[in-house]
Symmetry: C2
Subunit: 343 residues, 2 copies
């Protein structure tokens, strides 16, 4: 049972050394697992440390060793929103990154950044981390602009960045869009529409649209232009886009949404307009949000392999990836109820 000593006094390795009858450097070696230390000595040191309630001071150890064993994770959010309004996708990614970092023996220093005063990315320079990972909404231009220089660095990885292509990690957007189109075709749908934000700054959505266009063209179908109406939230964008689509008079029986959050909004408008999903129209989203299981109807979606995404992000920030390695998390189709059974 650890003896806590005087609570106000921090016991150092010198005191452990004294009690164990060894040199302070031996304490350090014994406790850090140095293989040159004999079992007997290590045991003696361990006991002394336990009795004194000694723990290595991580700050001192890291200063001396020059390592941090920490990864900084920056989650970019929109200004003025509550934690409940953050797209669950970013939380899922955050969880996956923390898990992957932990798996590699790294700690995660997390910060949510939305406004100027919070923008901070100098974790490596100030020796707080060995690398930084940027994730979050691609709609906060100021935040990404602030971190733009960072994105070029070898010890930085990002997801959702509107810039840079070579160090950006992402879902396999092309494969995902193709899966969606194929699933819609299999259900007998032919008039397919893409709803999503393909503005210049959104590489991932542009990739999804490009692949959607390719896949429809190959099937002898005209997928047409992407439908998108701006709005405060992805949900509102989905609602407005679906409304525009309906009002346009353009015939459609299948929708591929660039992300689940927009799909939820679209689903609402479709229902309000008396369109039966999946009978009249099939809808497929992208992101694999867990809440899609409870939407009305439950949303069929393209889900990235989050665990793999976390590993890709961590490996990239740590410089562990082979050059030329593809930074795309594989995707799979999660079948729920927004597309009718294949005919």
């Amino acid at each position: 049972m650890p003896n806590q000593n005087t609570p106000s006094h921090r016991v150092t390795s010198f005191e452990v050394a004294e009690r164990a009858g060894v040199n302070q450097s031996t304490v350090s070696r014994a406790l850090s697992g140095d293989s040159s230390i004999t079992d007997a000595t290590r045991e003696k040191v361990r006991r002394a440390a336990d009795e004194l309630g000694y723990r290595v001071d991580a700050r001192a150890a890291r200063l001396r060793s020059g390592k941090t064993r920490t990864l900084a994770i920056v989650v970019i959010t929109k200004p003025d929103i509550e934690a409940t309004q953050i797209n669950p996708f970013h939380y899922n990614l955050l969880g996956s990154v923390c898990a992957a970092a932990s798996e590699k023996g790294y700690q995660s220093l997390v910060s949510f950044q939305s406004v100027e005063e919070q923008f901070y990315g100098d974790f490596v320079e100030t020796r707080q981390a060995d690398g930084v990972i940027l994730i979050g909404t691609s709609t906060n231009d100021a935040a990404w602009a602030h971190h733009r220089a960072l994105l070029e660095r070898e010890d930085v990885a990002s997801w959702g960045s509107p810039y840079v292509d070579h160090r950006r990690v992402d879902s396999d957007n092309r494969a995902g869009a193709r899966m969606a189109v194929e699933r819609l075709l299999a259900a007998g749908h032919r008039d397919l529409v893409f709803i999503g934000d393909t503005r210049q700054t959104q590489p991932q959505f542009r990739e999804r649209f490009a692949s959607f266009s390719d896949a429809t063209r190959e099937a002898g179908i005209d997928g047409g232009k992407a439908i998108f109406e701006d709005g405060e939230t992805r949900g509102q964008q989905g609602r407005r886009s679906a409304r525009t689509l309906i009002d346009s008079g353009r015939g459609f029986d299948g929708i591929f949404c660039s992300c689940d959050a927009m799909a939820f909004g679209a689903l609402e408008v479709l229902r309000e307009s008396g369109v039966d999903v999946p009978r009249d129209v099939g809808v497929i989203g992208f992101d694999g949000l867990g809440s899609g299981a409870h939407s009305s109807p439950p949303l069929t979606t393209v889900e990235p392999d989050f665990a793999r995404a976390g590993v890709l992000l961590v490996d990239t920030a740590l410089g562990l990836t082979k050059s030329g390695e593809r930074r795309r998390a594989p995707v799979r189709l999660v079948e729920r109820a927004s597309v009718r059974t294949a005919t």
Copy 2:
């Protein structure tokens, strides 16, 4: 423009001192904002630092100053689940805690812990943090058991812990349950049922049930016993509980669910059983999950003030709360569509 010098060389405060023509201690004071330094000196030092691309080494600064300015946040999850399966409530809380910590000038060291090998709470002992905050699922007994001793400490705060009452932060469960009952009554419902996990280890759900019972009794209604069936996930528990309720033959026209995740499951079963929500039965959840906006029907729920919850957790871990202060985040009713308009 910062001159990066030789990339492999880390520039120290000594070099900045030399270039600025001052003592190294003056560099430290100037850069840390010490008020005794004149503006002219500070400016001179700043310029030299910028030119050399100098940044203070946080490890050294913290070691010397004895501070960490860091809070450790432990998120307890269930073993063997993906990041997408974690209850969004915990993510929302995590985001709120990080925001509150940042607001107070603290960094957040985050770890997700689900299995034995990951259990670690010695952040203060190893001088990695000034306090620790434990949140996450209350269903991982092994994790909470491991951290049990921690929970008694002054520098530790928790949410969702099955143990200890005095330092546990939580929603104002009693007020929330009362709001739910009153809303159900206002819609004209009289046969109210509580669905939720009231087993010994879940203080928050027991509080919600106790208050539900009080409020129904005061209204001259017999709220009866809590309905609960176990299951792998909250969603499955909600499904099974709703099924049991229906099969029991007990008449009901209003349901208060102990958490949104269970309410989603219940909603599904109700729909499958041809029960119309909100016409035949009103349903209210607890937690304020954002995805409730897309459920079928959208879920009326009791939402805690997340921002306040984050502040309470941080203040508690930092010892900033006045003794005797109530650690309950205020709640409000988010009106959606699972309860009909008040009559």
